[in-house]
Symmetry: C2
Subunit: 472 residues, 2 copies
Amino acid sequence: MTGGEAKLIDQAGRMLGPKAVITDPKEIEPWVTDWRGRFHGATPAILAPASREEVAQIVRLAAEHGVPLVPQGGNTGMAAGATPPADGSAILLSTRRMNRIRSISADSRLAVAEAGVILATLHETAYQVGLRFPLTLGARGSCTLGGLTSTNAGGTQVLKFGTMRSLVAGVEAVLPDGSIHDGLSALKKDNRGYSLDQLLIGAEGTLGVITAVALRLVPTIAARAVAWAGVESPAKALDLLRFLEARTHNIEGFELVPQDSLDLVLKHIPNTRAPLAGKHDWHVLVEATTSDTEIDIAGELEHLLGAALQQGIIGDAVLAANGAQADAFWKLRDTISEAERAEGQTLAHDISVPVAAMPAFIVEASAKVEQAFPGLVASGFGHLGDGNIHFHVRAASHAAPDWYEAEGEKVTRMVDDLVTDAGGSISAEHGIGQLKLAEFARLAPPGRIHVLRAIKQALDPLGIMNPGKLVP
Amino acid sequence: MTGGEAKLIDQAGRMLGPKAVITDPKEIEPWVTDWRGRFHGATPAILAPASREEVAQIVRLAAEHGVPLVPQGGNTGMAAGATPPADGSAILLSTRRMNRIRSISADSRLAVAEAGVILATLHETAYQVGLRFPLTLGARGSCTLGGLTSTNAGGTQVLKFGTMRSLVAGVEAVLPDGSIHDGLSALKKDNRGYSLDQLLIGAEGTLGVITAVALRLVPTIAARAVAWAGVESPAKALDLLRFLEARTHNIEGFELVPQDSLDLVLKHIPNTRAPLAGKHDWHVLVEATTSDTEIDIAGELEHLLGAALQQGIIGDAVLAANGAQADAFWKLRDTISEAERAEGQTLAHDISVPVAAMPAFIVEASAKVEQAFPGLVASGFGHLGDGNIHFHVRAASHAAPDWYEAEGEKVTRMVDDLVTDAGGSISAEHGIGQLKLAEFARLAPPGRIHVLRAIKQALDPLGIMNPGKLVP
């Protein structure tokens, strides 16, 4: 611990009270390794302020003593953006005690909630007033609104409702100079200069600490219908999406699953079975929802899939007969990563390309990777309608235990090159954090890096806000 | 003309060819006064590049010679953000020759169009492929996409589709160092650092020159229904909006009109008549649209208004019997400003407060202004559902011709104070430009100004991009 850290902890400790300051290494330990277990950091202390004013005091102290801060919510990030550096030079600033839902309005369809509120808690609270916060993802039981905002999180409902960027109506944050930015009045129209809210969304805590957000809510779901369809190619899957979108506004989920992934799930995940009798090279999970009690959503989806079958867009389809079967269909999609881990070593890539280019990309990039690295199996699954798939590359069955270390980086560089050549993004929804920093630096146009650095330097000249993340 | 300007024009002239350089004062004259005729600038030349590469060359020359550039589209801005300074120190950079629609895709529902494309041209082109760009406003026949993006323009369709910020899927721009930012691949998900696209939207050309945008399109309208309702207060008008929104997704326009404004229109605008027989203190124009040919939109709106009448939310309502009558209803709304001008001197304020706070604001702020300035008439009309009204203050009938100069600033300061106290914005949709720069500087929190200046300085350290606008 350097002198600056000791002084900061001492002063912050007196300010916050004993409960909000953790210095016991055993209590710290769970929070300094990232979700995927790949990055291991260290910190002399976790500070957990309970209000934006306390955050502001900590930030001012950190600036005074030159001690970096690493903001952290649920520690569920996929790119190690909330893991402190290994040298212990930074203090972890946990938002978990800022966990109040300050207001929720059925009339305005807005919730104002603090950064440490767990996503599932917001879901439940909104539901109690007849509304819904439509963004959801696997970590909903532990991820926080501050983290979701700072990483511009996506998930499975982006097709209809967008990412956090579309759902955040306003941001409250403590800026690196300790001043408070209050964007929570959530004006629908406000043209007074550069949007600081938009700048903070997806900034991974490098421009300030988000302390609260105003979020848009939508009506609750009155009914949903889930179907599973077999298609011969990703191109046909996209044809199906276009066909559906031209005929209804109710498609909320549209997930692509290759036969290979389905086989792995059926092999490794208990209590799973294939929805369709025949074999199809590719599959699509479709979810339609409506908030209108008068719409027969199952009938609508069945009718549309019947028409798609007749037009040769799909090879077969089945509608979930009830909620349990719908959940079973989703389980097939949601356990792909788990099944892959059971099968062996897998390299995951969260990438996007323009939606129209995705079908060709999946097929061509998979072939190129498999050709360059004989024995590997490459495939893409996920959010086809967002142009965002999880492009996974599996080690050969006979791969050595250190395959990941030995060959992983080369494979990832090839995938990232292919994505960049296709005009895509090497980080569709997980962010850059530490995980993708080197690849981002390698592939981004120099002008892009220059702009990011200039903005970072302008707002955080002392470099105390989450250094070593996002900005190469 | 200083030496720097002469060199820049000479070099740019050789680069662009004679047609793209205008130095004749007579040809320049229409472009150096703002739309409202309140700001008069001067410039030694207008440069009209035809490509982003030409823009980049001009920006690099401008940086080299230290000559400021003022980007301009259709010169229809409401805050004089595209009017050059009066001392002739800046060159006008017109985007009008960059007027190609580069691509339009019915599948992707995306258009990529250059900054100088006129809004009405995009409307027509989209319509030809069965799609619609939903943002529209009075100046659609002359305003450009670059200007609309740079001012984050709104209009009458924001309720359903949002402002430009929601409709822009990607931005191409030349940054102040002459580098090109290309965000046109329009990825639906891309989490590679701070969103430069979002930073450029609404930046009024102070951070770079937007050269093209990717825009989201929606299905064309299959049917529309327009109604006029009488209500007793702005609160009841908002009740009506909530009532409708809870029952249909098809409300696209919702405009509040006070009886006083309607009276002025009926008095001054030929061929107008009141839609309702009785008198009502307030009125609402409602437009419902659908892209679904199977929906009976007129029947739906009639049914809902009938229910609202029964519940005492509205006092009366009439559905337009046909397109001509619908247009006649809209004319009553769209000619309010014209009627006010015919009546006498009027001060216009484009302001917003949180939607839920707007009904009380309209009533209370009007009363306070009329009390503080006896003889003046204050009222608000416009986009109630966006929390954005045009708060207009009319001079007393006996006012001196110089009332505007004598008392206007004091009135505006009072309105701006009331808006700020209500947590609102002194510029809801028109921007800051030159018009509101002093008031913005007076009322913004110091931290806000600091951040804007820091970002401006970071991206445009030489201060060559539209100086004197937006950033106090």
